[in-house]
Symmetry: C2
């Protein structure tokens, strides 16, 4: 596009290209006078560096990829916004890649997205089992979001889902509920299994029975899955008096099904979600949910990935636990 090159700036400022490059890259040992001359020339010519040339030479693009199942899903949209913001602060651009949960797309990510102009990858898998995740030796730095891979070789940043699910279930128990359903046990990449673990743990701790009829698959984690799950639960001989949905979309779908059935929330059935997306906060009734600190997550994930890219990260793989709170709202306390 613009024809201005580094050498044009150098000519105009009366210095060598090396000097201009030094100024642009903020290297030391430039006299203020030289710097001023160069900066004036840059301004006059409206020069901007050619990113392709720089990447080619340096072997770094200052781009990272964020691979998520779908950006239109509110949790991932909010996550993407947080990560983009955190990266921008560090001069890094985020490329968002939608895998749509397709195994081939997820494998492409695990293979380092070869040919893509990126220095590293933040990946939220949904199809690939955590145990299947390994990094190629010649691959780009990879950081995983979501459920943990015990003993894996990849950095992780995630909420402690077992503990959070225990807390969510326990909240329902503390309200005196005894038939507590779980929706989303079939969730991908280990999510369903891990959250069910916390759910069952809370039931056991309270001396409540575990009833497989109350554990619903809910694969897909969308509103329609939550609504369908709730309809199934209401059709049971003895329906639940509370539901822990493994994400907020499932919970919002469940609330819709409860409204359709003419039941009151939390009077007849209390509902808890997971994620704290904005929809849930404004919904009527507002949704009790697990609220992870997305800004914390984004900051740590970007920082750690950039450390890996720079080769300055710790020698061992890291497993960071995202702070969260249980937000108690109308769907459990009226």
């Amino acid at each position: 596009m613009v024809a201005t090159r580094l050498s044009d700036v150098a000519a105009r400022a009366g210095v060598s290209v090396k000097t201009v490059s030094n100024v642009i890259n903020d290297y030391p040992h430039i006299t203020p006078a030289t710097r001023a001359k160069v900066e004036a020339a840059i301004a006059e010519l409206g020069y901007t560096p050619n990113v392709s040339a720089r990447s080619l030479r340096k072997g770094r693009s200052d781009f990272i990829a964020l691979a998520i199942p779908e950006m239109a899903s509110p949790y991932f949209a909010e996550l993407g916004a947080a990560i983009s913001r955190a990266a921008k602060k560090r001069g890094i651009t985020v490329l968002i890649d939608q895998t749509e949960g397709e195994p081939a797309a997820e494998q492409f990510v695990l293979d380092g997205m070869r040919g893509q102009l990126i220095d590293g990858i933040i990946f939220s898998p949904i199809t690939t089992a955590p145990t299947k995740i390994t990094v190629a030796d010649d691959g780009k730095p990879l950081l995983l979001l979501g459920e943990r891979q015990p003993g894996g070789a990849v950095d992780h940043v995630a909420v402690d889902s077992v503990q959070a699910s225990f807390d969510a279930t326990n909240h329902l128990i503390s309200l005196g509920r005894t038939r507590i359903a779980a929706v989303g046990v079939g969730g991908g990449a280990g999510t369903g299994a891990v959250r069910r673990k916390g759910y069952r743990k809370a039931l056991k701790a309270a001396g409540l029975p575990i009833d497989p009829a109350l554990e619903i698959d809910g694969t897909g984690y969308h509103r329609e899955d939550g609504a369908a799950a709730m309809r199934d639960l209401l059709a049971l001989p003895s329906p639940p008096d509370a539901v822990f949905c493994f994400n907020d979309l499932l919970a919002l779908g469940a609330l819709r099904a409860l409204a359709d059935a003419g039941l009151s929330v939390p009077g007849d059935v209390a509902v808890v979600g997971f994620d704290d997306i904005e929809d849930g906060r404004y919904h009527s009734p507002s949704l009790t949910t697990i609220s992870p600190d997305l800004d914390w997550l984004a900051d740590k994930a970007v920082t750690l990935l950039l450390d890996r890219i720079a080769g300055t990260g710790p020698p061992e793989r890291l497993d960071l636990s995202v702070p969260y709170t249980l937000q108690i709202r109308e769907s459990t306390t009226g």
Copy 2:
């Protein structure tokens, strides 16, 4: 990263680099035998082209930017997903840039996002007035989403907001409502003004009075703005019996405020939105709204922008009108 270069492939296949390049770029006049040899070498070495080098040489990156106010807002998240998908089909990668409605960020976009590795820009402004939008002569191709700029020099793809707002308001009139409020008249980049135009037009056509007290600013277009607007409307000496909100988030906020006030929808107040985001479809009551065809929008926007980049677009600036439907749901018909 990977050390394999074009010349390595050429050496392995026993041909020149030119031939390998020809195979990769699908140029004609390659014998099937040569092609097979080259493809075998590529597969054996796991070769992938270096994108920086290619961009530097060709002066094209096959990246386009999508500049939107915020990707966590459901409408923009859904728009971003649709545009990413449409671009991917054509081998183009979309870079999402969040302006957060900041004037400086929007100006940066209008200046062609200099220094960014992109061939063109799809831009949804929110702060910059449509009349202020012009393109630099040396700038990259730019395509605008949102309200029209009459007589401007930039391609546009947008819903006919006047007509759509007329339809939405008319739907409320046809239900016998007579005090119809409008929320969002202060919306950025002309949106509020244009939608109010359609709203007023419908009132006039029906012989209903225009009451400025029923036109609420609603700037921000988020749920909280809709809730605040609704509370203001309910505090009027004679509150409205219907509300046309200029986007779905405003409408969802209004529904929340109506629920808090113990009013029934649509019994006491009917509500219409604009955008057809997924939240509205599952909300209880589900939201009557204007539903633009986002896949149509994404396809046309990407195609037209790529034509501009290639220099094959029509000589005149284009103004494409996105098909839409009025989705009638519970918030107006119970």
